[in-house]
Symmetry: C2
Subunit: 249 residues, 2 copies
């Protein structure tokens, strides 16, 4: 893949516990930060329930639109863990015991402990490629451009290192933040002008409240450092004219 | 609406800052917990970028599938705040100054401070109903079954109280949690049996690591307390037989 190609991804969070509000998802920001650092832009995130038809339909849509799809959740041993069977169905592949995964878990557990419940975790789509799990043994897997990771944040994080060679990103998405002691409405018009002069750069404006004071962080994002620098100087130009203080954030 | 009807909602998080990983979304769990408490089940969540066409298309899909749609983000004064104009476009309504919102902000700000940037926040779809903002003045709004809230979590939270009479929920979704000192694979088969005997109850299994010890929380969810009680006793039945310790979590 050409390094200049824009590479994108979708994140599919699978789990009733996120939809019910019981669990605060943090995997989206973990994955998005990591993907950005290797030049993959996250185009959308969806959170869906543990229902096979919904997972299958959503996967079959997203995997055609995006270069990569990352799923989180649903690969444990219990009845509500249905990601592997859903991925198999989405790709029209058999759902069966993965021999390599079986060997990994057989040697991970003490003799006699690799019980029927745990053995469910080695059922995967035919020909799935394993994503090794340095934390708790049970691997994730990928099929084509779909990468299936666990829902437990610490385990998910520990598995990203092993994915690096499998994901081919584009130019890393660079960003620069300017934090100002002002409110958004003071700079809205000037910032609109800068955005209009630099249409291919993403400029975001985010109010913050920090150490008892209001401020605004302006985030400039692009694959091209010189475009970021150009926007930065245009922004600092109106900031200086307006005598707005630049602060650390 | 009949109180026994199942009422559902989708959450649409609008913002590049979530997709880039810069900002950790917490509005999903806030909204989901609140909606559950008033008998509205969240069917899906989507996170989309600040792009009008994507927002319009997603809104027009979700508002037909779900009883309610809640958007967060994109109602501030800067160029990347495009939720109001996108909602107007989705409904084929004019995007114009909302007189009541204008009066609210005119009296909220000191004379002379209600500048052009701030006036952008009173541009809304024609006939929008206001959602009052007790924190920072600028109201949210609703059109038909679409409710538009800000992205800043503390402001969003403060606006939910004012929504209570506008959202008609079904039976509240009740839940009961049993936390066990075990691992998922020990209980997976027994739990599957309970789920199969109680197909209309949602049973989730979530591993946890707390105070240095592993455990599993089983969450039983239903609108019907007696169904929850029945599942609870079936689960405690196998838990006792397996001599698994029940713990607080």
């Amino acid at each position: 893949m050409n390094k200049n190609t824009k590479v994108n991804a979708a994140i599919l969070i699978i789990g009733n516990e996120i939809l019910s509000g019981r669990t605060q998802d943090t995997n989206t920001s973990t994955l998005a930060n990591w993907l950005n650092s290797i030049g993959v832009k996250v185009g959308e995130v969806r959170v869906v329930p543990d229902e096979e038809k919904i997972i299958v339909d959503t996967l079959n849509l997203l995997r055609k639109i995006y270069n990569y799809v990352f799923t989180t959740g649903g690969i444990g041993p219990t009845h509500d863990d249905i990601t592997a069977q859903s991925v198999a169905k989405a790709f029209g592949k058999k759902y069966q015991i993965h021999n390599e995964a079986f060997k990994i878990l057989e040697s991970y557990y003490q003799p006699g402990e690799f019980n029927e419940g745990r053995q469910k975790m080695v059922w995967m789509p035919e020909d799935a490629e394993l994503i090794l799990n340095p934390t708790s043994g049970a691997p994730g897997f990928s099929v084509d451009n779909v990468f299936c990771l666990p829902g437990v944040p610490s385990i998910l994080k520990s598995m990203l290192g092993g994915l690096k060679n499998k994901i081919i990103g584009g130019e890393p998405i660079l960003s620069h933040t300017i934090s100002l002691r002002t409110v958004e409405s003071e700079i809205a018009n000037s910032l609109t002008n800068v955005q209009e002069k630099n249409k291919d750069v993403e400029i975001g404006s985010y109010p913050f409240f920090h150490a008892g004071k209001l401020g605004v962080s302006i985030v400039i994002r692009s694959e091209n450092q010189s475009k970021i620098d150009e926007c930065n100087s245009q922004i600092l130009n109106f900031v200086n004219k307006k005598k707005i203080e630049v602060v650390d954030r």
